[in-house]
Amino acid sequence: MFPVLIVMAISTVWLRLSIVRTTYELDQTEGMIRNLSQERDQAELRLTGLRSPRRLQGIAKIKFGLSQPKADQVIHLRGAEKGIGGAIASH
């Protein structure tokens, strides 16, 4: 009877320790996921900032000396229109 009790007690303690250890590991992994997710969010935010119209206009004006085209300087590519959302194609 006594050895059985001892084994049961040790098993219970071992099980409990395993649960705690696994929980900590899960916690750490989740923290890592959260950090990576945060890094991704920041990278996406930076990307959005890099392609913001304000920045692109600044580069076009200052770096390349470009200005808004006049109506007769624009070539309209009919095939490039994608409904209303279609832009002047990069072509």
């Binding site: 913001s52 085209p69 624009v74 309209h76 009919r78 095939g79 409904g83 209303i84 959302g85 832009a87």
Partner: protein, 680 residues
């Protein structure tokens, strides 16, 4: 018996006493053990609660708020994780030093930090959404160490913070969230339920400092992130429109301004700009600056309402050529004098088209009086004036059209030329959309959904009347019309100027010095059908819409045609990109006529290879020597090839890697030119 006890008797007495003591101890120990067993094994809700409170707590898991994107998926509102500093005042050590350091690191008043750290609670916020600079100071002051651990009693909570990556872009439409990322204004408020997601409250085990440490991960998985919201706005156009509006407000010294670009076919709002602008990433912006005036502010439309009057008249049997007597510049109604906007304008008999073209107040008043209050009021109601447009945007107002019983002849005459009614810019925009779309009243749409609406828009005027109104509005941008400066070369522009006096809130009378100048119009005969509303509040100096709002309209229309590649009527057939599944199909689609050299103007690129003439076929067809186009962008290649009837087929993006025909080969007019592009 009264003598001293003998040793044997002493031993017996000692054992007896010891026995009593032991039994007593055993009884006490037994009682304690029984009590412990009772507490351990028998349910006791009160004790259970006390126990739970000691080492368990509830943690609210917030989902990620849905992002807001423009119609092309460009993010306009996103989330970032931010650090917020919290404390358990009961566990704070070195209180006075800590208060001083925290106050310095986060630029908070000492009294405020003291108050928070003296609260008898286990949790208080010190400051939420810390900046990088504040985090740096906390590290410098050793409040946070290199491993990110904090001093006793403090801890960092990671929260979500709303960021608007484009700053001022569409700020009035996007709105704002509070510190808990709950929408409080604009689309953020309107779509809050959809974007906020599902919150979950989970059990957590507290550590020695009372901080939640181990969280019920299974329960936490039930958190549902918020759904994204896609707007109908086009970020690029929105930016261009905001730039034009800002420039115009600065140039005219206006107090405020607004622009709307709406698709007349389906009511989609492609751009909606307000001035003054603000950066939604900054806090403490006054409400007056944050208001989306396009929907939340009313104004007296002035002459722009004359187009609705004309539409009403023609729906009731009038023709564009019907005339009224404009009384040579002065007309009395109920003892009040109505005059033209400009004193020098004196008209006699004037037809409906000219009333619009010259913006005759007396002409409009006469038409309104002849039409009658009942018919005109019905038209205004049909157009939705005095009611919300159904856009759903929070804070939208209805405007005001006086009740029928308030309509005196003077009221009717005034409303005829746009005074005495309160409308919103959005109501006016959709009224003009009905002229462009053949007579339908569309509902403004700001949220893009792919579901095809089966609801037919309400018809407010016949197609014939709509066409006639457009005809009249075209006259406005003719050489002697009031909207000359709205004209854009290459496009037929229809629209109407409006210069309305502002009612002084103190006296209730029309101001002589404060005006709202507006222009509403569109390019005719092009696709897509887009209506543009422009307005400037209280421009300084020359305040007439013809000199203020009309040039702004011109700039916005220019941005619109560039953004959506709307070719001008004067342009010979535009270059058409080949499409289709098979090469044959693509060639068939490439029956493009060349664009004229003159249409391209001086856009030749440096070191651009030119086409060399090689000869002609017996039928007179020109033959050219194919230049090398490798390494060019498609746009650059088009510049080289334009002016000829080549059929162009472009595949891929980036720069040209392969071309057909090869360099130096013959290329005849009408031949196919195939270009394969790859990313550089």
């Amino acid at each position: 018996m009264g003598g001293r006890l003998r040793p044997t008797e002493l031993g017996i007495e000692f054992r007896r006493r010891m026995t009593v003591l032991m039994v007593g101890c055993l009884l006490v120990a037994g009682a304690i053990a029984s009590r412990a067993a009772y507490i351990q094994f028998w349910n006791n809700p009160r004790l259970e609660q006390m126990s739970r409170k000691q080492f368990q707590s509830k943690v609210l898991i917030r989902p990620r708020r849905g992002v807001i994107a423009d119609r092309s998926g460009e993010p306009l509102a996103v989330n970032l994780e931010a650090n917020s500093l919290a404390a358990n005042p009961l566990k704070i050590e070195n209180r006075r030093t800590l208060i001083r350091l925290l106050s310095k690191a986060m630029d908070l008043p000492v009294a405020m930090v003291t108050k928070r750290l003296n609260e008898k609670k286990e949790f208080v916020w010190i400051k939420r959404h810390l900046s990088e600079a504040e985090m740096g100071k906390l590290k410098r002051f050793k409040i946070v160490d290199a491993d990110g651990d904090l001093l006793s009693g403090l801890w960092m909570v990671r929260e979500s913070e709303r960021i608007y990556p484009h700053g001022e872009l569409a700020a009035h439409t996007l709105g704002a969230v509070n510190i808990d990322s709950e929408g409080v204004e604009g689309v953020e408020l309107w779509q809050n339920e959809k974007m906020r997601g599902k919150f979950v409250s989970v059990e957590a085990i507290k550590d020695a400092l009372g901080r939640p440490s181990l969280i019920d991960a299974v329960a936490a998985k039930h958190v549902e992130d918020g759904e994204p919201v896609q707007l109908t706005l086009d970020a690029s156009l929105q930016y261009a429109v905001e730039q034009s509006l800002r420039d115009s407000v600065l140039k005219t010294g206006s107090k405020a301004g607004g622009v709307v670009v709406m698709n007349a076919a389906n009511g989609e709002i492609l751009a909606m700009a307000n001035q003054p602008a603000f950066n939604p990433n900054m806090s403490g912006i006054p409400l007056d600056r944050r208001r989306n005036r396009i929907l939340t502010d009313g104004y007296e439309p002035g002459s722009t309402l004359k187009a609705v009057l004309i539409a009403s008249a023609m729906s009731n049997g009038w023709k564009l050529t019907d005339q009224v007597n404009a009384e040579h510049g002065s007309f009395m109604v109920q003892g009040k004098k109505i005059s033209e906007a400009e004193v020098k304008e004196k008209f006699d008999w004037i037809n409906l088209r000219k009333i619009i073209k010259h913006s005759s107040n007396i002409g409009a008043a006469k038409v309104a009086l002849k039409l009658g209050a009942d018919k005109y009021l019905k038209t205004l109601k049909d157009y939705g004036f005095g009611s919300k447009t159904g856009s759903g945007f929070p804070g939208e107002i209805s405007g005001r059209v006086p009740a029928r019983k308030e309509w005196q002849p003077l009221t009717l005459a005034n409303i005829g030329f746009g005074q005495g009614v309160l409308v919103t810019p959005m109501q006016m925009t959709r009224a003009y959309a009905s002229f462009l779309n053949g007579g339908f009243l569309v509902t403004p749409k700001l949220i893009k959904d792919d579901a095809i609406s089966t609801e037919t828009p309400k018809r407010v005027i016949s197609e014939k009347v709509a066409a006639d109104v457009v005809n009249a509005l075209l006259a406005v941008t003719e050489d002697d019309g009031t909207g000359l400066k709205a004209r854009l070369d290459g496009y037929d522009v229809a629209g109407k100027t409006g210069t309305a006096q502002v009612v002084e809130s103190t006296t209730g009378t029309y101001s002589r010095s404060r005006h709202i100048a507006s222009f509403i119009g569109f390019a005719v005969g092009v696709e897509p059908k887009l209506v543009i509303f422009t307005s400037l509040d209280e421009p300084k100096g020359v305040y007439f819409a013809a000199e203020t709002a009309a040039p702004l309209f011109h700039d916005v229309l220019n941005a619109v045609v560039n953004r959506f590649s709307i070719p001008p009527r004067s342009e010979t057939a535009p270059v058409k990109l080949a499409k289709g599944k098979s090469p044959h199909d693509r060639i068939q689609f490439s029956q493009a006529k060349a664009i004229a050299l003159s249409a391209v103007n001086q856009l030749t690129l440096p070191d651009e290879p030119a086409l060399q003439w090689q000869g002609a076929t017996p039928k007179g067809q020109m033959i050219w020597k194919m230049p090398s186009l490798k390494g060019m962008t498609a746009r650059e290649a088009i510049h080289v090839l334009h002016g000829h009837s080549f059929r162009l087929e472009v595949r891929g993006d980036g720069v040209i890697q392969n071309q057909f025909p090869e360099e130096g080969k013959a290329l005849a007019e009408g031949d196919v030119v195939r270009l394969a592009l790859v990313d550089p």
